[in-house]
């Protein structure tokens, strides 16, 4: 495998391990497999709004409690005076940060390039995938800062750790495992955690039967694994590591929120060639640098994510 650094030049494509003197079959130009997982469209992480044009980089949400189902009536004597209740008002913030990615290519590489070879336009087409990868990085980073954990540092994840988490949500006041028939508890675990979990499950008598054991042990790769004991189980190797442990976790639907900054007010240098994906808040621009005989491509987005309900987010911190 060879590395082609920006600016992508003919010298690099022609030399090293690629060596353009070989005749390549067009179909042999392939991308390496990489994790392509996003929880974004599930609603597991709630979209909380757009800060574009607000004058602020932060959205503040208000949460009420002590009302409706959160306030049952008190038994009162026949002529007793009713005690007045308070309403609890809580706030949670989410702030955006800027994320960017850029590539460049030399004129010479473009002129001499084979059909189907990478160029900045092809890379620009793939930028929404990079945006989704970034979004998933944010989920993993947000989850790493959960206030409390299950699992034991330096010890492989076990079936008991999984049960501890499930039992926690069972006893969490008001937590719903499903809302309107849709699952509401999600787990994002690293592949290593799932391997350790599957190893632990192998010894469980209740899972000695072929079908559930097969479901546990079968390798699916990153992404959705199964619905198990009330949690929708996802694997993502974007789960972060720190201190020799993997920081996966569980979260209730909507307990993590995300925002973006809409680009309505953005004036780009060259609107004819810029690519804007409004729903993501993603802008990609091209520019030529004739003095250096280079083409450049830059993508920018402004997104943010934060825990919105600490009680519904729990880390699963186990040995890496």
């Amino acid at each position: 495998m060879a590395s082609v650094s920006s600016p992508i030049t003919h010298a690099q494509l022609d030399g090293g391990a690629i060596q353009a003197r070989y005749a390549f079959i067009l179909g042999a130009i392939r991308r390496r497999l990489r994790e392509m997982v996003s929880l974004r469209t599930l609603g597991a992480v709630r979209y909380a709004g757009n800060v574009g044009g607000t004058g602020s980089d932060t959205i503040r949400e208000t949460f009420y409690d002590g009302i409706g189902w959160g306030a049952s009536m008190a038994s009162t004597a026949e002529t007793g005076t009713t005690s007045l209740s308070s309403v609890t008002v809580d706030i949670e913030d989410i702030a955006v940060g800027r994320y960017s990615l850029g590539f460049s290519e030399s004129y010479q590489s473009r002129i001499l390039g084979r059909p189907g070879e990478i160029n900045v336009e092809l890379l620009a087409q793939l930028i929404p995938n990079s945006w989704e990868a970034t979004w998933m990085d944010l989920v993993a980073t947000t989850l790493a800062a959960a206030a409390a954990d299950f699992g034991t540092s330096g010890v492989d994840m076990s079936f008991d750790d999984y049960l501890d988490a499930i039992f926690y949500y069972r006893t969490l006041d008001g937590f719903m495992f499903s809302v309107d028939g849709r699952p509401n508890l999600f787990a994002m675990l690293h592949g290593q955690q799932l391997v350790d979990l599957a190893t632990s499950v192998k010894a469980e008598p209740n899972y000695q039967f072929p079908e559930p054991t097969d479901a546990q042990l079968a390798g699916r790769g990153p992404g959705y694994q199964m619905s198990w004991l009330g949690a929708e189980l996802y694997q993502s190797n974007r789960v972060t590591s720190s201190g020799g442990n993997r920081h996966g976790g569980f979260f209730g639907g909507g307990s993590i929120g995300w925002i973006n900054a809409g680009l309505d007010q953005l004036q780009v240098e060259n609107p004819q060639t810029a690519i804007i994906v409004p729903e993501l808040g993603l802008v990609t621009e091209f520019r030529g640098v004739p003095a250096d005989a280079k083409l450049q491509m830059y993508s920018n987005t402004w997104i943010g994510m934060a825990i919105q309900d600490d009680s519904q987010v729990r880390g699963m911190v186990t040995d890496a």
Partner: protein, 218 residues
């Protein structure tokens, strides 16, 4: 022959690959603690000339990645670090936790290593705690952990009053959680795999029962 500077050979261009960790750059992080997060670890204690090991309930620290756009961390002005004021306020007021954000604390626990992502070849920094020693071995990173050193530091955080000692009820809840695994595993102890699990659980229960609850030094 190249001269070693701080244990590292100066850049040799294309002659020899540089000693960068082959890993994707990550973001710096601050460690924080919340009152319900504790674990049992071994600490070396000195009694006169004799050194022995003692189990303690130690604060389990979590990373707050200083990544603008996550958990209320914002980008600071150019040239300055990220702004984590809102995140700190949230940890302290909402979670009743402790963020270890003073410069001398960060210098104690945070380390940076030069690295290069193997996919994108982007150079950057890879942050670890001071008790992790990552090394590049055959294109992968192998990390050694100084658990005893880390545990000693965690204990000192309680002893010097940085982190409040655990509430006994919290420790009892953690012990109960572990003890709660025994009846389920014991029901199936006739299966060798479960018997092994039960033995490991019992050992951890015993360790948690024997561990001392740290106190702030008078």
């Amino acid at each position: 022959m190249a001269k070693l500077t701080n244990g590292r050979v100066p850049a040799l261009g294309s002659v020899a690959p540089d000693a960068l960790l082959p890993v994707r750059p990550n973001v710096p992080f601050l460690l924080f603690h919340t009152p319900k997060n504790w674990f049992v670890g071994e600490v070396e204690v000195q009694d006169g000339k004799k050194t022995s090991r003692q189990l303690y309930w130690l604060p389990k620290l979590k990373p707050l990645p200083l990544q603008p756009g996550t958990n209320n961390v914002k980008a600071g002005p150019d040239g300055e670090g990220p702004d984590y004021m809102a995140a700190q306020k949230r940890i302290e007021r909402r979670l009743h936790g402790t963020l270890l954000s003073r410069p001398h604390q960060i210098q104690q626990y945070l380390r940076e290593h030069d690295c290069r992502d193997q996919r994108t070849k982007r150079r950057g920094l890879y942050y670890t705690t001071a008790w992790e020693t990552p090394e590049a071995i055959d294109g992968t990173v192998v990390t050694q952990h100084d658990d005893l050193g880390y545990h000693r530091w965690l204990l000192s955080l309680v002893e010097d009053g940085t982190i409040r000692p655990p509430h006994p009820t919290v420790i009892e809840q953690l012990r109960n959680r572990r003890r709660g695994h025994i009846p389920r595993q014991g029901n199936h102890a006739h299966i060798p795999g479960m018997a092994a699990k039960l033995a490991a659980t019992q050992e951890r229960v015993d360790r948690e029962a024997a561990a001392l609850i740290p106190e702030a030094a008078p």
